[in-house]
Symmetry: C2
Subunit: 90 residues, 2 copies
């Protein structure tokens, strides 16, 4: 489960798509894409490209948005939005 | 229903939050935030700020992501990711 999570950062979208395909072609049945703040849009793109262009039997099994409290490097706390997209092979 | 949709563009987040609060304080029970492409992250922020800072009885009642086909100004078609966040007062 923990092992199924792909965190989205600043790399190009296709590198996350490739990571997901590798994960799902290595005996894993599901993947969870997690992203915070401005990378949320990229997370949605990554899910859509993976499902529609590469793995047609992949479906969204759970979708969540919410707020997490993060500490920045000065120790100040701030709220950041997140998205969590769980996808399973059918 | 159609009337309940707020489309997210390039304005500051708070202007959409205000539009939602006005909508919900004018006899409407629900609102749907819709966003495409890079404004998806802002849509999530808008939902979170509205729920957590301004209207604590507001809950997410439906959440959807997907792909839409759009035509650009040259008539070329391209696929764009979207998010749709439906929220209802409890």
């Amino acid at each position: 489960m923990e092992n199924d999570i792909i965190f989205v950062g600043k790399k190009p979208i296709m590198s996350y798509v490739m990571a997901i395909l590798t994960h799902l072609n290595s005996g894993n049945n599901q993947v969870i894409i997690k992203a915070r703040g401005s990378t949320i849009s990229a997370a949605v793109d990554i899910s859509q490209v993976t499902m529609h262009k590469f793995m047609k039997d992949l479906k969204i099994s759970n979708l969540e948005i919410g707020t997490e409290e993060l500490s920045d490097k000065d120790g100040k706390k701030r709220n950041v939005s997140f998205i969590s997209i769980e996808m399973k092979r059918q």
